[in-house]
């Protein structure tokens, strides 16, 4: 008798906790998405001023470019890390395409290329504005590599 009661109680507990587990999974997926977007916003934080210099909105400053490019080179290798959590089945809103987890090695290779170009940009600041802006274009093309393939274009 008591065994039956315990079994029933266990079943009931499991059944009622299923939605809670689902909610946990969703929360986790959402946290992963937030983290990814947060990281990319930090990348933009360092990338943005260089865009402003390229557009002539603010004066060129080689030291800022060197510093920011160095920070970007530190941040980019984190991208595959924060994308490790697979959110394909979460149904949550994200611009990250499912292909990322199908081609994780390519995704990683592309971030490595972009990282090298960020380092090249930091080095190019020694050769003056023109060289830096050329290296900056290459870095942007490196970013675009992933955006074209792995970011939703709607």
């Amino acid at each position: 008798m008591s065994k039956v009661v315990i079994a029933l109680a266990l079943c009931l507990t499991l059944l009622t906790s299923l939605p809670a587990m689902a909610a946990d999974a969703e929360e986790q997926a959402q946290a992963a998405i937030d983290t990814r977007q947060g990281l990319l916003k930090v990348v933009v934080n360092y990338f943005g001023p260089i865009v402003g210099m390229a557009r002539g909105q603010i004066p060129y400053d080689g030291d800022v470019v060197k510093n920011n490019a160095g920070k970007v080179a530190v941040l980019l290798p984190m991208i595959p890390d924060v994308f490790r959590k697979d959110t394909r089945d979460s149904g949550l809103e994200t611009e990250a395409l499912d292909k990322i987890w199908d081609n994780m090695s390519d995704f990683q290779a592309k971030t490595e290329t972009a990282t090298e170009r960020a380092l090249a940009l930091a080095a190019a600041t020694a050769d003056g504005q023109e060289a830096a802006m050329k290296a900056f274009g290459a870095l942007g093309a490196g970013c675009k590599g992933c955006h074209d393939d792995y970011r939703q274009q709607n």
Binding site: V51, Q57, G137, G140
Partner: protein
């Protein structure tokens, strides 16, 4: 300009100075063919110079914007210029559809279902087309082309590549809206490619399948017309009003993309 005068001389003898609305043509008359064999028909002006210039400049802009879109960041600014020019061309063509010579006017080639049905029936047989300007299907494709190019150029004003470049009005829409418009820009381009492909197929079919020259008339403006079609030749290019309206449109586009937009947002701090 000698040929303009020649055309004028021909049309004035038929006492028809103002461009009359084109009569319903379509299924009848194969005289074209037999006449061509007996003696070369005089070439009459059908496509005015501004319409032809519009056509070929649009070809350049569409090809150019495709190539520059694929070519990477160094070409983005050129891509923008092609887009702005396309926008201006479309606006000019719409205006020209009201103030241009007969065959450039929407009134002459926007036709109802009966005409569309007739031209659809004549589309696949191998006899030469008897239409002087656009046939009803071609007319509606012109409108479709204008709409699709307008959509392409307009959405381009609001979107960005996420990295370096942004259209002049990217700053006034939310990034979600910009993303949706970018989606339309990319999808609509496929539609545009399909339209171009259909257009080229139709031209090839008419030119060699139906033995109705279309390519040369779009270059020289002149077609061989039968005697009774002669009244529908146009007498002049309306160059003055083309230059005036073209300049106004060009100025408006420059104002739209260069002076009116809000300053690019500083997306950094």
């Amino acid at each position: 300009m000698r040929w303009v005068r020649a055309v004028k001389a021909v049309t004035t003898t038929t006492a028809n100075k103002t461009d009359p609305p084109a009569p319903i043509q379509g299924v009848t008359s194969r005289r074209n063919e037999s006449e061509k064999q007996s003696q070369p028909a005089p070439k009459s002006l059908v496509w005015d110079l501004p319409t032809r210039l519009f056509h070929w400049l649009l070809v350049v802009c569409l090809a150019g914007s495709w190539i520059t879109a694929e070519a990477g960041f160094d070409w983005t600014e050129t891509h923008f210029l092609f887009g702005y020019t396309s926008l201006g061309l479309v606006v000019f063509r719409i205006i020209w559809g009201f103030i241009g010579p007969t065959h450039a006017r929407f009134r002459s080639f926007i036709k109802g279902p009966a005409h569309i049905f007739n031209s659809a029936r004549a589309l696949l047989n191998r006899s030469p087309s008897t239409y002087i300007g656009h046939n009803p299907i071609g007319g509606w494709s012109t409108v479709l082309f204008l709409a699709v190019v307008a959509m392409q150029a307009t959405t381009g004003l609001f979107i960005s590549d996420d990295i370096f470049y942004a259209g002049p009005y990217n700053g006034i829409v939310s990034s979600a809206t910009a993303g949706n418009l970018a989606g339309i820009h990319h999808l609509n381009f496929n539609l545009l490619q399909a339209l171009v492909l259909i257009h080229l197929s139709a031209v090839i079919w008419y030119q060699w399948g139906k033995r109705t020259p279309l390519i040369k008339p779009m270059i020289t403006g002149k077609k061989a017309l039968t005697d009774e079609q002669m009244d529908n030749a146009i007498t002049h290019n309306y160059l003055l009003r083309a230059v005036i309206s073209g300049s106004v449109v060009a100025a408006a586009v420059v104002a739209l993309v260069q002076f009116a937009p809000p300053p690019a947002p500083m997306s950094f701090f």
